[in-house]
Amino acid sequence: MRGCSSMHDRLTRWLVSLPPTLFLLVFFVAPSLIMVVASFRLPGDYGGLAPLVADGHWQLTLETYRFFFSDFIYTEIFIRSFGVALATTLICILLAYPLAWLIARSPKRHRDLMVLLAILPFASNFLIRIYAWMIILGPQAALARAVNGVLAGLGFEPVSLLFSPFAVLVGMVYVHLPFMILPLYTNLDRHDPVLLDAAQDLGANAWRRFWRVTWPLSLPGIYSGSALVFIPVLGMFAIPEILGGTGDILIGNLIKEQFLGTRDWPFGSTLSIMLTVTVLACAGLAAWFARRGAGRHA
């Protein structure tokens, strides 16, 4: 009976785990490996990739990586993307914290509804959310006219709110804010109010209570929220393309252009690999911080 069930067990295990594993190996791992190899291949004469083997030997090269570093412009765009991602994350933390705190401190019966309300904008297609800001920041809309009215009054030249780094930042924050609210709230929800009461009894004022008790405890939530914001922002291209000016392009735009514009697939792959490496490095860093933080304040 025992032997029978363990063989049965193994069969079941394979049956259940094989289909998803196979699917993901074929449609996720294989494409990623192909992309890694593509970054070392030569570009085709008319776009795309040159054949992997020609005249009996492999056509692989480090030229594409060398090309990436040959001019500072690409590194500059990477650094700028990094900066945008950082700024977006910080602003999201700033905006999400009061809201998450409020929901966590609200009576239980309201919390689910408040969370749902905070998440619902996420239900809309993100292009719609970008479009909304195209309207709000557009030159004909009230906001731009008001701002330019003030500027004109002060003697400055009119400024365009749309197609600017400002618009890109607003768009990024707006699209990713729900991703910060949720993990933060989940974390804050678990805080034991007794700790704060104890701190108050010991004479700490509101600010000290927040800084010495709440903030350190919320760090894991901050880290997961930051990861959920920082990493997608690094790869975004639609927001800079629609809301940004010609000079506001980020890594995502570069990658898109290589595949759907210049037909330089090796370079596009190289850029993607560099992005992946950056993302893994950031994720690793975040995990390290989280472990350190948890260790210190456990």
Binding site: L42, P43, G44, D45, Y46, G47, G48, F67, D71, I73, Y74, E76, I77, F163, T246, G247, I249, L254, E257, Q258, F259, L260, G261, T262, R263, D264, F267
Partner: protein, 351 residues
């Protein structure tokens, strides 16, 4: 089980060819009237997709776009498509109207003996402008300097757009500096890049599709664009009763001539309908309709009697031999040159 069968049927139903011709064409490059007449004559439907730049079209095809019967690429793109074996050779027996074409436009370097392509129309990439404004500001309209020189641009700040096309903008800069549009000397390219970067702060945008509207409405006073688009802008401004008119001229330093041809993509499901379309467009009357409605240059001799004399006399659409000497067609770049140009274009966009 039945549900899945139904699902599969509905999913694959879309692939059924029916009597549909898929055309991948430039924006605003075929009038609705012509489309309607073709659909009536062949009792089929014409479905169009659009692109605003050869590079965009080539990239989409390279990335796996398929199912187009007909594409209308410019000369250098035709060469790329032929060399990468994406085209179906023409069956000349199905194209009796080929004889209508002006031999000057046949047997081009990019497709000897026209095995794959049939000339459709040609345009010149030039400058379109708001005539009143340019006169008011005392600016010249027959030279690229008005797009590149800060002394002129200072009066036009924020009112100029240029094409969002690597090849076209570099070609304009190279021509202004006195080089050939097909010059591949990197030092010359760097001079062109610096010229562009110096002028960029005065430009409103890099625009490939909506500049016609902006010109017509009066937001933009000067645009770098295609002669057929400028023709339409002029018509639109007249019809809308604007207080200004749109003019356009070939700069004296020279410009790019784009000869667009019809080609058959090898993944197209209906080559028969495609041939019918080509033959239809080679008829004098239909080809002339194209010119009369969108202002494109016409390589078809049989079309001449049907073309509006005012348009036939327009030197920006039908250039004189003297202007023709200064026009050049773009040739495709090799992969290393493409990469260098791409980096330069990134610099142009970002700096």
């Amino acid at each position: 089980m039945r549900f899945f069968a139904c699902l599969v049927l509905v999913l694959t139903g879309a692939a059924h060819a029916a009597d549909v011709l898929h055309l991948y064409n430039w924006n605003n490059y075929i009038p609705d009237q012509t489309v309607a007449r073709f659909e009536a004559s062949c009792r089929c439907r014409l479905v169009q997709d659009y692109y605003s730049d050869n590079e965009e079209m080539l990239a989409k095809l390279a990335a796996g776009a398929s199912g187009y019967d007909l594409i209308v690429p410019t000369g250098n793109a035709v060469e790329t498509l032929i060399r990468s074996q994406q085209l179906r050779p023409l069956d000349k027996r199905l194209l009796p109207n080929l004889k209508n074409l002006d031999p000057a436009y046949l047997d081009a370097a990019f497709d000897r003996s026209n095995r794959y392509s049939v000339p459709y129309a040609y345009t010149i990439t030039l400058i379109g402008y708001n005539e009143q404004k340019m006169r008011e500001l005392g600016l010249p309209t027959d030279t690229w300097a008005v797009i590149f020189e800060p002394k002129y641009l200072a009066k036009l700040k924020g009112r100029v757009t240029v094409l969002d096309s690597q090849r076209e903008l570099m070609a304009a800069a190279l021509k202004y500096l006195g080089y050939s549009v097909n010059d591949t000397d990197e030092a010359h390219w760097r001079r062109a890049r610096d010229l562009i970067l110096r002028a960029k702060p005065y430009w409103a945008a890099f625009n490939a599709s909506s500049y016609i509207k902006e010109l017509t409405v009066g937001n933009i006073w000067l645009a770098h664009g295609y002669s057929s688009d400028m023709f339409q802008a002029r018509q639109d401004a007249q019809h809308a009763g604007r207080p200004f008119s749109i003019g356009y001229a070939t700069p004296r330093e020279g410009a790019v001539l784009a000869l667009d041809s019809m080609v058959l993509h090898k993944t197209g499901p209906r080559p028969d309908l495609a041939h019918r379309f080509i033959n239809f467009m080679l008829e004098g009357r239909n080809s002339a309709e194209l010119t009369n409605l969108i202002g494109s240059g016409n390589p078809n001799r049989a079309a001449l009697p049907f073309i509006d004399p005012a348009i036939a006399a327009n030197r920006a659409i039908f250039p004189t031999p003297e202007i023709q000497r200064r026009l050049e067609m773009l040739k495709d770049l090799d992969r290393n040159q493409r990469r260098v140009l791409s980096r330069m274009w990134t610099e142009i966009k970002v700096r």
